[in-house]
Amino acid sequence: MQQLILGLAFILLTATYAVSGHAADNKPLHLGLAGEPATLDPHRYNLRIEETVLADLFLGLTTFSSEGKLMPGAALKWETSEDGLTWTFHLDPNARWSDGQPLTAHDFVYAFRRLLDPKTAASLAYFMYPLRNAEAIATGKLPPDQLGVRAANNLILELILGLPYPHLPERLLYPTAYPVPKHVIDKVGDAWVKPEHWISNGAYTLRDWKPQQYLQLARNLHFKPAPAAPTVSYHTTANTQNAYNRYRAGDLDSIAGFPTGDLAAIRTERAAELRLAPQLSMMYLVFNTRSAPFNDMRVREALSIVVEPTTLTDKVMKSGDLAAASFVPPMVSNYAHPAFPHAGQLMPHRQRRARALLTAAGFSSATPLKVTLRYAAGTDAKRANLAIAAFWQQIGVRVELHQSELRVHYGDLRQGNFQVAQAGWLGESNPEHYLGLLHGRSGDTNYGAFADKSVDTLIDAARKQKDIPERHRLLAQAEAAAMKSYPVMPLYSLTTRRLVRTDLRGWHDNSRDAHPARFLVR
């Protein structure tokens, strides 16, 4: 009997598979994309929206499941050497490029070398700095063929690291680790990203790209199992109001964002379509420790302890964002999140202490502390930063706000051209990805130029460990050490706010905001 049921289930399953997998009556998908991709070259990309499209066009060694979890991609399995430095990946022998050419380990060797070649000018090349000699190659000190990557044969790829890096499979999820079609690039050069030359190894290929309108993806006939939707169109929307209008007009099946002011109405009218999901990310304020007044720890502490992130998220923004208690986002697991020294104290007490700290640092009501708070344009950011200004005004600080465009804002941050500024980091489930930003030698991603010997020592020690628990233990110590001197003020983790039509199946909210189109059915 049990066998019979199993058998029936099997028949049913195969039947559904036949219907959803091969039938042509699955509808095309029309998804909203919050902005225009700057490029579809996986080695030259920089933006989150590009990751979304690239994940449908390419398949890396590892990939996201429909739930946003890590799963095998072009590599079926992998193992690590005893010292944690050599990773061996076994490629899927059936993997093909969209022109039918087999995908080999040599393609990956070529791709990693191209990524780190200075000539490629890949802005995120440093994502693959765990590879041996990667940094030296990117800075032109070594030729690309010295990179720690090797094809043992067509199906076995070896990655050789400089230091142990147990989070490598997660790092391989980024487009920077995608293969690119050498046989096309050799022929047409940079024009390989044009639809007419496009070849990729993901579930879809690029059929058309009309800037400021849409990107249309068509099924890759050599990809198994075949994705349900015959085509996927990503429609670019420059602002949330327009995205929302077009979603309501029925033009789009899903949009990533709508005007915050409409959230209340959406909660009542479109509750089933509303998808709120916390995202692995950290929005924070960074103090510029290069110069006065923020080279003074007392000032940083004073401003930090009077801001209550939960008020910000629950009362002010009401957007479902997750208030932060420490710098590493709460979704990062297997990690003992440390707490700030002021955690648990009441606000009046904190304000008294903050005033005392400011007085000790030489500020008074006659000579108040004046700060300029910079943030990147956007309604949510505006709300949050106005609220922060209000918190500070309560302890007699004069605040001026300065808003600029996203690219310009981060340009200013990297050049150290700010006093205190909002910053954001979309990350991995790896505490090092965040704490690295506070390392004294991490370059200009350490916007505030914070440097603390004990923090650096702990992070360096962690980087030599090949076991995740030991690594995380040291990193938690590093975070606790850093939090004592308030280099940054963690505010909240972003929540992705999407609208998804109820007839779009296969959509699972997740903290990576990963929704590969091949799992979606309409």
Binding site: E36, A38, T39, L40, D41, R44, N46, L47, R48, P118, K119, T120, A121, A122, S123, L124, A125, Y126, A138, T139, G140, V193, K194, W209, K210, P211, Q212, Q213, H235, T237, A238, N239, N242, N245, R246, R248, A249, D251, E405, L406, R407, V408, H409, Y410, G411, D412, L413, R414, G424, L426, G443, D444, T445, Y447
Partner: protein, 302 residues
Amino acid sequence: MINRLGALGVTFLVIVTLIFGLLRLAPGGPFDGERALPPEIEANLRAAYHLDEPLPQQYVRWLVNLLQGDLGPSFSQKDFSVNELIAEGLPVSLLVGGLALVIALITGVIAGTLAAQRPGGGVDGIIMSLVNLGLAIPGIIAAPVAVLVFAILLQWFPAGGIGSAAHYVLPSIAAALPYSAAIARLWRGAVVESLQEGHVLTARSKGLSEWRVLWRHVFPIASLPLVSYLGPLAAGLLTGTVVVETVFELPGIGRYFVQAALNRDYTLVMGVAVVYAAMILAFNFIVDITYRQIDPRMRLES
């Protein structure tokens, strides 16, 4: 004629040089995104876009390419050249601008003629009040309100994007509105004035029909100021299309221009500015020649 063409060329060169000079004075770089890049990688990027060369060399490179019709790569849209982006966007902008021009001309001339029939009368009063209202309501108000009323509340037209003819209705009307009002006022004045002229009065006294008088004797004279207004009108419409392209998310070059300006995409800003300048210069040139053709006094002079 040759002289004028030469002057046109020199003007264009001066403008183009000004644009280049202005933009290279701008602070900040075009390579900053959500994720920061290490200095060595930024150096790679600068080299790839020739930003590491001395300024005169960059200028010569840009000018030589420009004269060959090549506006260079876009910083922010790395997979497209500026030429490709403009080729995609220009038709949309021209269509919206052209439609707006036609709408403004037709409605403006009709309203102006009606108002001029009995100056000071009821019709004139109503039309001129509407005209004044139209002049006071800029595109930044008209366009979003039009979206709110006609796209969201009434759902008569799409809220944005392109695809069908219906997508162009709201944008071109919103862009035309203030210029329709300006033309109505101008045309009314010109018609009223020429109705007083001697030969018109004579023609009327001969018993010609009102319509014939207007068509044969009034409109030819009244069209002179209108033609000379076409130059500023085109420049103004260009401004108008920038707004409607932004509000309605039309993939035109005006939106590129604003986006590129906000994001310091130098090559794209320069490319669009050059195209704008060339279009306006060419349009003014044509208007100038037309004016000379239709103005009897000018014809005698030359």
